[in-house]
Symmetry: C2
Subunit: 225 residues, 2 copies
DNA sequence: GGATCAAACTATGTATACATTAATACTGAT
DNA sequence: ATCAGTATTAATGTATACATAGTTTGATCC
């Protein structure tokens, strides 16, 4: 490291990271408006990189740039959640099937196996945050094994859009004990090269998870998150 | 209309439209590099809106902004085409199934029926450009009927990325006479409310179209478009 | 003549000043 | 007092000037 700060990342890239962090942490609440100049001051840079970051995040569906009204952090409705979970269900199931067709060795499936093990550990310790992180890792690794980079990107975008809603419901619902059986079954189907089984098991898993989440939101009158 | 030009659209929006047009028309060829300042002169505006447009289109996967090297129009490889067609196959088939579940009336399905009629007319006249436009209309309307706005966006992005490649192969391959039977079958399944049939027929249709296209590209050694 | 280092150049990244326009407040008449 | 019309304001949209860093060029030494 040189004595002075090297400044490897551009301010624009920093603004993207920071804005994402502020959105996911709730520091910029869903539905709130923020002037570009305010955000610029907050991030310690000029409007230019902040505006570029805002336009990028608008493309990712996290906020909306509105003329003379600042950027609005987009809230997620129940209908949005249904849309997103339908896309996730479809593309993840496809990834599971494609992964099964690739004939991965046990070595290649270690990260997926590791994520399941982490979920089991977290469940035993009733550590919801650790479970959630491991669950994310499982789904991310699953689509990675599917081998389609566009699917990886799209699933990432959709997952980001429901991130806040998932965080809210994480402590509302019972511990997902069934979930891990499903994950193991998917892993076994992939290891066995059974594309149809991998697809169908994961599809049913996702559909069930969607129903649980939607019902939870409806019952608690959480129509916007 | 007022006497002077009203200027309803922002320069940034115009830049997006123009750049898309220049990319799809081949005026900015795949793989070519272009300085932001050159593009600004070409579009008759400053670098700012051009740069904003470039960043937006980078998010849509049409080009890449590279530090000190200008924007590169991204070429599409055969592997890219496979990725994109796999996503399209999955999401369009899902849309067909969802559309079938919605119980649309004949009135609601008129646009889809109209697109098929246009394809038949174009086929009879051997007008490939008209057929291509009607085929686009069919697929766009199909996902619209699916009722998932995110699927509409994603399918639009994927379709844009393969647009050049489709244009190249349009005059290379035989007239797609089988295609229309498939389209009619999908329409009938949706009208009959048979989600499984709508899904499976469209899935097979897309898979076949993908194989034709990929083989055509391989045979003609078109590895980058 | 070739290699090394430095200086100039070039194009993006960033800051800032300005233009534009929708919203708001104010003024004045009825 | 209310409404219409105008002026001010405020924030984005845009242009431009500047900073930064990578590349190329050129000069100098061996």
């Amino acid at each position: 490291m040189s004595p002075v700060t090297p400044k490897s990342k551009s301010n624009s890239a920093i603004a993207v990271e920071e804005l994402r962090r502020l959105i996911f942490s709730g520091a910029l609440p869903a539905g709130s408006d923020h002037l570009e100049s305010e955000l610029a001051v907050r991030l310690g840079m000029s409007r230019t990189p902040v505006r570029e970051a805002a336009l990028l995040l608008e493309g990712q569906g996290l906020l909306k740039v509105r003329a003379r009204k600042g950027v609005r952090i987009l809230p997620i409705s129940i209908d949005d959640m249904i849309e997103i979970y339908d896309v996730l269900t479809e593309l993840e199931s496809m990834s599971a099937a494609k992964a099964a067709e690739k004939g991965y060795k046990a070595q290649d499936l270690k990260p997926l196996d590791g994520a399941i093990a982490d979920m089991e550990t977290a469940l035993a310790a009733e550590d919801r945050d650790a479970w959630s992180a491991a669950d994310d890792a499982f789904h991310t690794e699953l689509v990675r094994l599917g081998g389609n980079s566009r699917v990886v990107s799209i699933v990432g975008l959709m997952a980001d859009q429901v991130r806040r809603a998932k965080a809210v419901t994480l402590y509302m619902r019972p511990l997902p004990t069934q979930s891990n059986k499903d994950h193991r079954s998917v892993l076994e189907a992939i290891a066995a090269g059974d594309a149809q089984a991998a697809h169908d098991i994961h599809y049913a898993h996702r559909a069930a998870a969607k129903d649980v989440l939607i019902n939870l939101l409806r019952q608690n009158r959480l129509h916007m998150l």
